[in-house]
Symmetry: D2
Subunit: 328 residues, 4 copies
């Protein structure tokens, strides 16, 4: 029986706790959160108890920690959990600064512990199927990737101010998709963007609409477009052109109803937001983490993946600010 | 806290047990099955104990019974559970004979207990959305309904021999869809069919391909086509033409991948079979049953619905055998 | 150079004249119409002259006649054109009565002339592709056919009164599709229907909503549903289940625009009506007719096909009126 | 009656001649081509005669010239036709060099003649519908445009060597789409690309895979991706995100057949290449040209549009070669 501690009892922490509860051979022992009430409520729901980070890491019965607390705590918790010899699951991003993220990655390497970063999109049934079919050679060699990544609406400006900016906060996922699907590292990055949906985002020094071009070492091409606001909801698609065809990953819909009226023929909008769209992905990533712990399955999203995506986000931010192409 | 007994620990019994476990305020106390091992395994998984029908019905702590045992036991168990004053959830069909089904419905009526029949398709997100939009008037008054109902492959002939025939075993669901969507009762039924996929089915006195036409009292029209075998998998669709448009309920797909090759543009086949396609429906019907028990929400699929669908199956069987139109 | 006479300068006559003009080696010499103005206008547009039926048939230079005049003239014109040794293209139906239609077919047979009936749907690119792929064995042996056939709105009641009824006027096309796709003749026909869209249609002794079931000699099954009114436009689809899969023929859309809004994801309604949907089919059938004349290509839609479809329409009418199954 | 001269009797010249023949009030008088046989054949087919450029331009009866000869002749023919006071329809591009293109535009301006550039995509029913719905405000203010533009296969390397490169030869259309859909001029252009499909293209100094990012003066964003080779055929799509939704222009398919097999659910690939996909567009652009001549309708694709698209192609070429962002 693996006993686990969960750091963070917020929205995503609750999802991880529920998915953890479905793993056989795994038990949630502790919940830690700066908000005592949240910690208490979630602990009670899962038969766990509330404790502190120190106590959780000091308990030799704890084999795994799940880090779902605020971004600024990730790197420090990784370092401490690694030192304590725990297997680590950590939400993206590793950190907003490359230096701290590298330190966390170093700590993991030195400790020789498992450390999985929660790039949940790789576990989405549709995205994972594209990757599997690509690897099976269905469309030959990958050439050009196009990624569309749009939220239904922007978070509060107060959040945007501490988010690290659109490239680190939002496109970090898309940079990971780029590396994963093209199976190649970036040689150059170009990014630009605008503030088109809410001037307050621009005043906070950020963009709400961003486009990025990545050329890989092997000459493969990737275009990413992202927006903080799509009137029709959460838009999460990509398409990969290969030498023998193309694979598209499309949006998921709540139902398969088609309506024919005097006006048009319509179907449902995409599923509303990430909690709906990536419900299966969140379940699968937690299953994968414990599968890696129990059966030694190689981790599919490591702390190095977290680091590499952050390097791309950093490069894109520089490209945008300095209006130039950044070579890596 | 509602305590429940489950009769039947087979494939569908396991699904109900898992869904029951997610209801708050509900606990599975007993599992009953003629196969002691199956009962024991399922009971253990859910912290329940194994007992007999008699003991379960005699226990005053039991508020609800879920009947998921073989078809020939349904009517008898309904009668006994009703006599014991339990709320009843029973898999379709109520029985293969109208007389016994009517007796069960009478027992429920006399006892004044809740009795829900597991027409799970009404709880499917896509089907339920069509019904809700129809009721909201989105396509005006319903006129013509077309139902396609195909299994990926036929069950063993040994099962077909005791199944009651394709109309009672398979189209019973589609007859319920007809009544539910057209919101009208049948005035006439015409059925015909063929044995096209496996001669052994014909030798067993049954059809593997059947088509039914229902004209309702209000003149609405319904066509159903069913097959025991579709090479591309489980095909569960219907479309309803109304005075102001049409609503289609389509199949669900495992992923939203589209592949473009030199050959064609392709997507996934429909989800394989009923366990995949109606996963959400099975969960929602159990939630609805306990919601009805706890909050008094009116049952959406009653024992009378079970009876009416069986009457249509009986009429269709007669129409096919006697090559005539059956008026109701 | 083949010289042709066109009987009928109405809506469909104009289409045939335009398509004829695109055939190399073919020239429109005469236009005949009871409305002198219509005849004159169309003749002028195509460099033809106006004449009478007698004169046209008496002109030995005329190799082909195209009959696009009113239904009640078809059989008589076929008989006379056959006697004059002309190749004949005639709009559906051959006639509204079986006796006259059979007489026309006999005349064609005796004269040994070409006689093609304008079942244009067989020449529709989508429908023709389904047939070709079916013949290529792509889905194995055909088993069950479902045909949906809906007009955007009913014609005037004055037309309905002389139309021969919905089965001869509208479903005649669908009966032809049934014979063509299943490649088998009907053994039994069952039809029913209602008047749901306009009481005046019922008062005229007709239906506006009809459903038909055909079982072929080989046990194949066909369901047809037809309506005089679909709020979303012209609906012309069919799907054929075979032992190895299914082929669907879908509607054509004016454009390939998809709109995503806060409400839904929508596309165009189907092309409005038969002139739009079957534009390519009308062109291809005329090309086929002259190809048969010039190169001896076997006719794909003969006067016998016209006869057989009419027999099915007659049987369906009887089935509906007498509320019984009609065996053929 | 407008009399017209056609310069160029090749593939595209034949299409223009056929479309011209359908315009009422217009007659093709002359065909000019350096290949006498081609000129003769096309002239004969349309009742025109063969002549020289000089003679055609000297004939005062000629009101319009259609320039469909090789790219290197366009600018010179525009200048001469403008001087002769003829209305001009010219295939894209105006020229491969900005200087000559500007000279042609100047000549048109000074002569005050009509000059339409054949950006036929603007006349495609799907693309034109997106533009119309955008102008009608259906998705609010345009923000982000994504254009996919892929050929089924590369032209011979001998052609590529004189083509002006992928940006002037192929993306010129996409640059026009960008200006047309965003209704804004470029402020900066970034382009990169690779040679991924055929090394011979790279050896010829060109790319076969290119991606471009345009930021407009108003901050709108455009991403274009283009490839000389898509295994699945001609891929011509774009999608425009607006403040209130998104409009997608999709590919056209030859038929509306859907096939369900044990493998998958498939539809047709896109129409093969530009002659199929833009058949309606070519017809509509010629109708528009003569409508502008006859009725004074404002031209929708002027010589200035030709110039502006060329400026973007030039900027993209520079960006790619110098690996920098080009500001305009």
């Amino acid at each position: 029986m693996i006993e686990a501690a969960l750091f963070g009892a917020g929205r995503i922490g609750k999802i991880h706790a529920a998915n953890l509860a479905r793993q056989s051979g795994v038990r949630l022992k502790y919940v830690v959160d700066v908000h005592a009430d949240s910690a208490q409520a979630l602990a009670q729901q899962h038969g766990a108890s509330v404790t502190s980070v120190e106590a959780a890491l000091a308990d030799p019965a704890i084999g795994a920690v799940l880090i779902a607390s605020s971004t600024d705590t990730h790197a420090d918790l990784i370092v401490r959990a690694a030192a304590a010899g725990k297997a680590i699951f950590c939400e993206k991003p590793v950190d907003l600064t490359l230096a701290r993220a590298r330190a966390a990655a170093d700590a993991v390497r030195q400790a020789g512990v498992l450390c999985m970063i929660g790039f949940q999109r790789r576990y989405d049934p549709t995205f994972a199927a594209v990757k599997a079919r690509l690897q099976a050679g269905e469309i030959g060699v990958p050439e050009v990737l196009n990624v569309t990544s749009r939220d239904p609406g922007a978070p509060p400006v107060s959040y945007i101010k501490v988010s690290g900016g659109i490239f680190k906060d939002m496109l970090i996922h898309d940079f990971d998709i780029c590396r994963w699907i093209l199976d190649d590292e970036a040689a150059s990055v170009y990014a630009t963007g605008s503030c088109l949906t809410d001037p307050a985002i621009g005043e906070a020094g950020d963009l709400d609409s961003a486009v990025v071009t990545i050329r890989t070492r092997g000459g493969r091409l990737c275009q990413i477009n992202a927006s903080r606001r799509a009137a029709y909801g959460y838009d999460q698609r990509f398409e990969i052109l290969g030498s023998a065809g193309m694979l598209q990953a499309g949006n998921h819909k709540p139902t398969e109803v088609t309506a024919y009226t005097a006006l048009n023929v319509s179907q449902d909008k995409p599923e509303h937001f990430f909690l709906e769209r990536y419900r299966a992905a969140y379940a699968d990533e937690i299953a994968h983490f414990f599968d890696a712990m129990i059966n030694g399955t190689p981790l599919r999203t490591t702390v190095d993946d977290g680091l590499k995506a952050l390097e791309l986000a950093e490069a894109a931010t520089t490209s945008w600010r300095e209006k130039c192409v950044v070579n890596l």
